[in-house]
Symmetry: C2
Subunit: 333 residues, 2 copies
DNA sequence: TGTTAGAATTTTATCGTTACAATTCAAAGT
DNA sequence: ACTTTGAATTGTAACGATAAAATTCTAACA
């Protein structure tokens, strides 16, 4: 592969001039630029991005850590980040933390060691204290879907509390009052916030929160089936089930039907996230939209603005969930 | 950040010695090694991976191009590749091609310009000729889920023809004979092969392939709904529907029910890929398992073996699909 | 014609490693 | 004590670009 030396030789100009035409920023006369461009074309020259990185102390790469590479939720998120960054000529290095503290820390270390210019994290297991500490380091860190105290400017987050509220409120408005709730893992901030919203809606409507209609799930299909199983076996009365994400809702639907329930007549179910598949469950899932793709774009824009100094980036740090009404919740009256 | 130079100073040894303890391969006396290790620890030294790459002409990164970052299928694939590579200390640079020729070429160019040590491609729109040409270049290229003529050693592929055969055969065995087929885009090799398998099974059973019970879908939910709509509106008789992937099957299920069909009584449906969600459709989707996560691992192993010279890698180039029987296909008799 | 400012270009140092040839060292053999 | 030999270690030159200072042009103006 041709190097910048050969280009400069062929074009009869110095290294620096070639470098300057590559980096378009500073001025080169049209005549010279053309000579250089011709030489580059003739040699099939491609800048060596590694040498560029070493010399400029910029890797043009952004590290991304998500919990899982598969899964509809993270897919949308990565797609958003990648699209935005790719358009700006940056590349993404993706790794995953599996929602486990050690693996998340590991992944972060890994990305740091790869000399990313910034990292965007969707971490769930690691503590706020750790993150605050991390931010004191040299590597710029941004957070997706998580609000870390005092680091608001580095966070792109969803108002999960509001989402939880919306979900419960919408079910209440349909006349339900005995409502079961399957939460995500309690250590996850998303879960906690959604649950808080649920409780607020209950309180607003003077309905007591019942421990026996609460189940801590795992945000996966199994959480939904296990939770519903638990409620059914406890012989309690409830006409609606709120699941803290769509995967659990879908697990609950499958399990419910296996148990002979007619849905949504016997039980109304609402999810959270509005993953693509939500419209293909039966009944079609009423849920709370989580604009995670948009949020991915926004996280990328934040990096573009702060790290790569791109202008004209208007940043929204906080996103709002909205209710998506489909068929899985019916009016009780 | 401390450099190797400072480490060598503090340890009182040369640059080269430090470099050798970092790269564990060549011999250093235990005493010296310990001195260096201590110095590294004291300084909190971390090798600069970019400088390493420049000097060694190795970036320790593998480029990956998939059609989409979201979507259950690609998620599993990326997860497999990443897990394997990450365990070996390599990182992945991921980008996507959206199944469009220009974007795929663009993505490939992009990855090449990033100095990956190898690239793993899941491309659909680009021609074999282009790929054969690409392989003549300096960058090692591997293919996921695609068999390129003459490049077998670089491919990890699924026997799609067999999968198509299996799907149709299993439906035939349940007594169906009027079978509709919704294919993927005809330009995609996967689609073509699955369809070929379908036709072979039909032929084996002396059933004529009917153009009017064939629809070219898009591998997305809409393909399934549009296809089924088309068949229903044409007023033809058919008792089973084969969809070339699970997304389309799920779209068809949703649409079918909207049209008042009772599934699977009125219509048996089978999918392909066995995405996670397939077990949560209603009825639970009978489908063909596509071991794409395993294949991802294998593609990564292939790179580890060929490029990074890791021993003890046994490679399987070709994978076989298997039938997963659930509830969406019933016996017609 | 001679200045001079500003643009265009070149020179030289540097980024933090690895690679390789050259050198030193230590133990064994004569 | 003196080679020999292979292992351990060192010195120095890349790797391919960017950055900043230094220099040369160019054209306008006095």
């Amino acid at each position: 592969m041709a190097t910048i030396y050969e280009v400069s030789n062929l074009a009869g100009v110095s290294l620096a001039t070639v470098s300057r035409v590559i980096n378009k920023n500073s001025r080169v006369s049209d005549k010279t630029r053309q000579k250089v461009l011709d030489a580059m074309a003739e040699l099939g020259y491609r800048p060596n991005s590694i040498a560029q990185s070493l010399a400029s102390n910029r890797s043009n790469s952004v590290g991304i850590l998500v919990s899982e590479l598969h899964g509809p939720f993270f897919g949308q998120m990565m797609a958003g980040i990648e699209a935005e960054l790719r358009a700006a000529g940056k590349h993404v290095i993706i790794t995953c933390g599996h929602s486990e503290e050690d693996k998340e820390k590991d992944g972060i270390e890994f990305l740091i060691s790869r000399n990313c210019d910034a990292i965007i994290l969707h971490v769930e297991a690691v503590s706020d204290a750790y993150l605050i500490d991390l931010c004191k380091g040299k590597m710029p860190v941004y957070f997706m879907s998580r609000l870390v105290e005092g680091l608001n400017d580095n966070c792109i987050s969803l108002d999960n509390e509001l989402g939880g509220y919306l979900a419960t409120q919408s079910v209440l408005e349909q006349g339900h009052s005995a409502i079961a709730y399957i939460a995500g893992p309690e250590f996850k901030a998303d879960s906690k916030d959604r649950l808080a919203g649920h409780k607020r809606a209950l309180a607003d409507n003077n309905i007591a929160f019942s421990d026996t209609l609460y189940f801590e799930g795992d945000f996966k299909e199994t959480g939904g089936s296990d939770g519903l199983k638990c409620f059914i076996e406890s012989k309690q009365e409830f006409s609606a089930l709120i699941c803290a994400n769509d995967e659990m809702a879908s697990g609950a639907i499958t399990y419910g039907r296996e148990q002979g329930l007619s849905l949504p007549k016997d039980l109304s179910i609402i999810g959270f996230d509005n993953i693509i598949f939500a419209r293909h469950t039966y009944p079609k899932l009423t849920t709370i939209d989580n604009p995670v793709n948009l949020m991915g774009h926004m996280a990328a824009k934040l990096v573009l603005k702060n790290i790569y100094k791109q202008k004209d980036m208007s940043i929204t740090h906080s996103f709002e969930p909205t209710l998506i009404t489909r068929d899985s919740v019916i009016n009780k009256s």
